[in-house]
């Protein structure tokens, strides 16, 4: 790679194709690994439905249980802020929408750059605060292994590099843009191999939880 332009072209071309393939195939494999295991037929006479309560749990678990919120407000609020912030930056930054439009053929209105810029700052600050919490909170520190820190980094890098690219902090621009895209590819490649997978498996988990409880006449 002789120049930043070559680097950018490589990142946008072959590297992106590889990352996309790993991302899509990996996720499909992971989801198949789960659902193909199936579960045994439950022979106990049901007290309630499975399907409806399962769907309801998919929705209701988006809000925290009252006691959890009282005990761990930071985990809950921090979780909301950075997830929503990340999605706003990903889906409502005008250049991202244009890119997705060129690939998917659909588009939607974006937010002004100033708003996305502010959201990015808040998201980065929240992620840093959550990292500090993970290192200092006795339960989180105890539970955390290298993978937890790796996925934190994978979520943090796209925002930071995007921020740097937008503000033209590093020069030359093609280099910093290339690094930004590379960070996304890093995230995509890690996806099927790490707990980033929860993005796609949480509806399944919530459904099973709600369905099994629903069968017993309880809304979980």
């Amino acid at each position: 790679m002789s120049s930043p332009i070559d680097f950018l072209l490589w990142v946008k071309g072959p590297a992106f194709d590889i990352a996309l393939a790993v991302f899509v195939i990996g996720i499909v494999v992971r989801l198949l690994e789960i659902v193909l295991l199936g579960r045994k037929q439950d022979l106990a006479e049901p007290k309630g439905e499975e399907f409806g309560p399962g769907l309801r749990t998919i929705v209701t678990r988006t809000l925290p249980e009252a006691g959890s919120f009282k005990q761990s407000p930071f985990t809950v609020i921090g979780g909301y802020i950075w997830h929503i912030g990340f999605l706003i930056c990903l889906l409502f930054f005008v250049p991202h929408i244009e890119l997705l439009h060129s690939v998917l053929g659909i588009k939607w209105p974006g937010l002004s750059n100033h708003i996305v810029d502010a959201v990015a700052v808040v998201t980065m600050a929240t992620l840093v605060a959550m990292l500090i919490d993970r290192i200092t909170h006795s339960v989180k520190r105890f539970l955390s292994g290298p993978e937890d820190y790796l996925v934190w980094l994978a979520a943090f890098l796209p925002i930071v590099t995007g921020y740097l690219a937008y503000h033209r902090v590093l020069v030359p621009y093609p280099l910093v843009l290339g690094i930004h895209i590379l960070s996304i590819e890093f995230l995509m490649i890690l996806f099927p191999f790490t707990k980033l997978m929860h993005t796609f498996t949480f509806p399944l988990a919530r459904w099973y939880n709600g369905a099994m409880a629903g069968r017993r006449g309880v809304q979980s």
Partner: protein, 422 residues
Amino acid sequence: MSKATLERGLNALREEIDAPVAAFFSSCVNCGLCAEACLFYTETGDPRYTPINKLEPLRRIWEQEFTLWGRIKKALGLAQPVTDELLQEWEPLVYDACSLCGRCSMVCPVGNDIAYMIRKEREGFVASGNAPEGMKGASTRAIKVGSPMGVKFHAVQAQIRHIEADTGLEVPVDVEGADYLALLSSMEIMNFPEYIEALARIFKQAGVSWTLCSEAFEATNAGIQIGSSDIAAELVERVVKGAEKLKVKYVISPECGHAYTAIRWEGPNLIGRRYPFKVVHILELLDELRAAGRLKTQGMDEARLTFHDPCQIVRKGGVLEPPRNLLKQVAANFVEMSDHREMNWCCGGGGGVSANERADELRLKVFARKKSQLDELNVDKLVTACANCRLMLEDGLEEYRVELPVVGLTEMLAEHLVEDSE
């Protein structure tokens, strides 16, 4: 049973992994929120008691054998195996510090049913020989003697004779063609025979055709608590045979919560077939009788009282309204605890913890959670509907030097019964 070995334990863990387990492990992000839902963590502050951590052995098997990436890592020597040492280290977490209460399963933001997985994980612990002596003893007694506490039917007969002498009522035994077969828990037979008396009085008044069965009186299932499906299935089979022999239409689960889980929810799956009868919890039956006007009571208990929801009949059993409907019929000053119904806190002794002497100190320590719930209310009486909860509540209250009577709901109703009301 064949000899317990690590290999058998690993096989048992493998057999337990299904789509829900895989979805749950795939979704956990180590947020730690389940810790705050578990009284073993909240009352000790020990992060090892975080519910999801108790599943590490099962998680490793899932990752290393049920995911492509995990298999690659294992082949490259990058995986930490499940060893006897790991299982030994985890055994107290899985048995002493989990009552299978399922409260963590209600709060997990990604929806993991952690209690579902602990129940499964215990199968691997038993098969590998890593289970507490107290629970092994209870399981052996359940198989050999017929009850986890070693209670034989002549002990039931002795209680029946007392009851019949005291009340002049008949307690029917082995009556073929009765509508209902009532099951008991050993704790009721030995510690709270008032329950049997209450059944006799209530059923007499309501005109319920019922019987006990000399070959199938024990409802609790030590096999489920320790995590041995073989033992559990044999115990369920006894009840099914007894019910089939007497040709009953219904089997009544006693108040005992784990008995209800065993006979109502796990039973048919353990023996691999549907029952030819229906299973009702005693509170469900009493509530039906109440709604039909067949449970006539008089007078109201004026004491300020609250209800302790047994995890297995409420959160894990869906018997939510009956205890409240019934209490309102006889209690003038019923107040709810801060966390109640499906968010109730466990007494600390469910899931076999009460049969595991090694766990006594920890169990009494974490009872502080229940005590603080009670402190908030300033009640004069505590009502519950599970003989095990009741014993644990009495034990905990004594430990914390709290003078508070604990009563069973069925007996409380029997006390308010209108006698000779035809």
